[in-house]
């Protein structure tokens, strides 16, 4: 029966590809989700910033800083406080301290970004550039100095043992299993995506944030403190960048290398845009982006049979890697399905200006 479907010219190709996906997705799902987690977390940081009207291209630098701090602080703590895990998923004191430090570091960098963007009213792109250059410099500098004494790694979080019955659910069991068989940071992303999505569209905070991101003057008129809300959201966004960075060095891996974020902060930006500035959308976009690389790897190890396999193998691997960026450009240009930023994104808010205007019209 299926053979017949596959034999249809051209359309059969598509069926064959879907068949191949159904076959390999359960196998590559954990890899895809693992690669998507830091990107989705980075996008959540961007979401908190941009929904309230502050552009953040410094996600990359925030993640890199957090990755370094998580690894370094965990390593230092492990030397003073060696100890077995005190909780599930390999939660040792060292790793937990490292995680908290990473979040604090990213919040501190976010505070600088908030101050430059909101109080100084500097160009927000420049603020992001400063953060990125500084992060590469300071983490590279300290890493080189520290690695001379070869400090021990504090290890990494372990994945949660998801209940076996989940994997036994027909058809989608593998997806539940892959999503839940993650460490604490990976699991916290799932919670955060759902909670933030609901908050954005169903809470007072969400309504205010969207108002401030779209039309801050109007928001201020109805009594919302634009400056305070922006500060709060940008600094809280740092929590997600901190988790994203820590994920790289104490959950996904257990070591730090210079510039190891390797553009993930910018893919996060792409995921944010592709996901139309929503948590759920950007999580989906991050999965889609990393799936493109996951499928490429699957094709390399076990291509489908026949002409489809030949075709997929002939596509250069670099094309799969470039795909997320190309898709983002296409989406932004509005060729297929336009993605539009919050209207006040990137525009510093000046209370005096509003007051002046109000006086002039009075």
């Amino acid at each position: 029966m299926i053979e017949l479907l596959y034999d249809i010219p051209i359309l059969g190709f598509l069926f064959q590809f879907v068949g191949y996906l159904i076959e390999v997705l359960p196998i590559i799902a954990p890899t895809i989700i693992g690669a998507a987690t830091p990107i989705a977390l980075g996008a959540m940081c961007g979401f908190m910033n941009e929904r309230s009207g502050v552009v953040n291209i410094g996600i990359e630098g925030m993640m890199l800083t957090a990755a370094f701090v998580a690894w370094w602080v965990a390593s230092l703590t492990a030397q003073v406080l060696p100890g077995d895990p005190i909780g599930p998923m390999g939660m040792s004191p060292a790793l937990l301290v490292g995680l908290v430090a990473a979040i604090a570091a990213a919040m501190l960098v976010s505070l600088v970004h908030a101050w430059l963007s909101i109080t100084v009213r500097a160009d927000q792109i420049i603020s992001g550039v400063i953060i990125n250059i500084f992060a590469v410099g300071i983490t590279g500098y300290l890493n080189l100095l520290i690695s001379r004494s070869a400090p021990p790694s504090a290890g990494q979080f372990r994945a949660w043992d998801a209940p076996a019955f989940l994997a036994d659910i027909p058809v989608v069991g593998w997806l539940f299993d892959a999503l839940l068989s993650q460490g604490p940071i990976g699991l916290s992303l799932l919670v955060a995506v759902i909670v933030m999505q609901v908050l954005l569209f169903r809470s007072r905070w969400g309504l205010r944030t969207r108002a401030v991101g779209e039309h801050p003057e109007a928001a201020e008129t109805v009594g919302i403190d634009v400056i305070a809300l922006r500060y709060r959201n940008v600094i809280l966004g740092g929590v997600f960048a901190g988790l994203a960075g820590a994920y790289l060095t104490i959950e996904f891996g257990n070591s730090f290398q210079g510039e190891m974020t390797n553009g993930r902060g910018f893919i996060a930006l792409a995921a944010l845009i592709f996901g139309r500035w929503t948590p759920l959308g950007s999580f989906g976009a991050a999965l889609l982006f990393t799936a493109s690389e996951g499928i490429q790897r699957a094709v390399r190890f076990g291509p489908p049979e026949g002409a489809l396999g030949d075709f997929l193998s002939s596509v250069p691997s670099q094309f799969y890697s470039a795909l997320p960026y190309l898709i983002t450009i296409i989406i932004l240009a509005g060729v297929v399905g336009r993605s539009i930023a919050p209207a006040a994104d990137g525009r510093p808010y000046s209370r005096e200006k509003r007051e002046k205007r109000a006086k002039a019209s009075a």
Partner: protein
């Protein structure tokens, strides 16, 4: 002119102080104990590595060349109210095209091979700058986002082309063949190639273009006030595309001079930060060609001297990035500088910059 330079000079001074504090704080890791003199040793080595000898000065010029060219690229964008974060990608594409033509013209005499390779680099940069300009003008896709994305696309293009069709025959890692007859001639010292002259010539040319030509007047008008420019009969759409393309051209030239003059080939995993440093150069130079020349020389000197600083003082070269970021920080947060030094110099803020991110959220095409 002098007053314009006060705030950048203060920002540099403050950055050196911050850098010194970082070095002192980290001196136990460098020296094993707290060493208050470490910054002096480090800055001394930085200075002698960049200006201490004829070779050092030539090396400074070599390092400054791409920074000046790419800095001009970013600066001309600023003048038109465009933020070209894609100098990095345009630099890479310029380098790739120059390397491709440089390898292909190995049989030709240098007098023919060099111009062809340079032309390829310039054309590739022009085209790679044209794309985001076109997208901005006709669809409103913001150039900041599209150029960031194109930077990563450029990395993948190089990885594909150089590990595939252009891969050299007898090379130990994935890279092109060594460029022979298209290599830029070395005129002075060990590595003082002719590309230095391009940068030094580009500065007055761009200054003339911006401040003496009709095109430059229109670019600056569009940057300062797009509405006024349109009412005056200028075509903001065309100017947006043209400015981005010229910007890409300059960044492409920067890439070509580095590949043809210094590296001699392009590796599949070519890593460089020139395009991002160029943003810092343009900001520090207040997007004025002469300012960019000095800013490029300063950052070039830091790059040139950083090696000796690492050898003599044990300070990792990444300190240069820290210094650059802190300089930018104080330039951006100039109110700190004003407060500390009680100066009433002209604002370091580039007036055109105000317009840059203001259009981020609207996503509207240029009218």
């Amino acid at each position: 002119m002098v007053r314009l330079g006060i705030l950048p000079a203060m920002a540099i001074l403050l950055a050196l102080v911050v850098g010194a504090l970082v070095m002192i704080a980290s001196s136990p890791l460098v020296r094993g104990s707290l060493d208050l003199g470490l910054p002096l040793t480090a800055y001394g080595a930085l200075l002698s590595g960049s200006f201490g000898s004829v070779d050092a000065i030539i090396n400074t010029l070599v390092q400054a060349t791409p920074l000046i060219l790419a800095g001009l690229a970013v600066g001309i964008g600023f003048k038109a109210g465009l933020f070209n974060i894609g100098a990095q990608g345009q630099f890479l594409m310029g380098g790739l095209a120059a390397a491709a033509v440089g390898v292909a013209t190995a049989g030709l005499p240098p007098i023919a091979a060099i111009p062809l390779a340079l032309l390829a680099g310039v054309a590739a940069g022009f085209a790679y700058g044209f794309i985001p300009g076109f997208l901005k003008a006709f669809t409103g896709a913001h150039e900041v986002v599209t150029t960031i994305m194109l930077n990563y696309v450029a990395i993948q293009i190089i990885a594909y082309v150089v590990s595939g069709p252009l891969r050299g025959e007898n090379v130990s890692f994935a890279r092109t063949e060594t460029i022979t007859s298209a290599a830029l001639p070395v005129l002075a010292g060990r590595n003082g190639h002719i590309g230095i002259a391009f940068a030094l010539v580009a500065v007055p040319i761009i200054a003339w273009l911006l401040f003496r030509s009709t095109l430059g007047f229109e670019i600056r008008t569009v940057g300062a006030n797009p509405e006024a420019a349109r009412y005056a009969g200028m075509r903001p759409r065309l100017l947006t595309i043209l400015t981005m393309a010229i910007s890409g051209l300059l960044a492409g030239l920067a890439g070509a001079t580095v590949i043809l003059g210094t590296v001699g080939h392009i590796p599949a995993a070519y890593a460089t930060g020139v395009g991002f440093d160029a943003i810092a150069v343009a900001l520090l130079g207040r997007s004025h060609p002469v300012g960019i020349l000095f800013a490029g020389l300063l950052f070039g000197a830091m790059r040139a001297g950083s090696g000796l600083m690492q050898i003599q003082a044990g300070i990792p070269v990444q300190m240069v990035n820290v210094l650059q970021a802190v300089i930018l920080f104080f330039l951006t947060a100039e109110l700190i500088v004003r407060y500390l030094f009680r100066v009433r110099a002209e604002s370091a803020e580039i007036s055109e910059l105000k317009t840059i991110t203001s259009s981020y959220g609207t996503g509207q095409a240029v009218k």
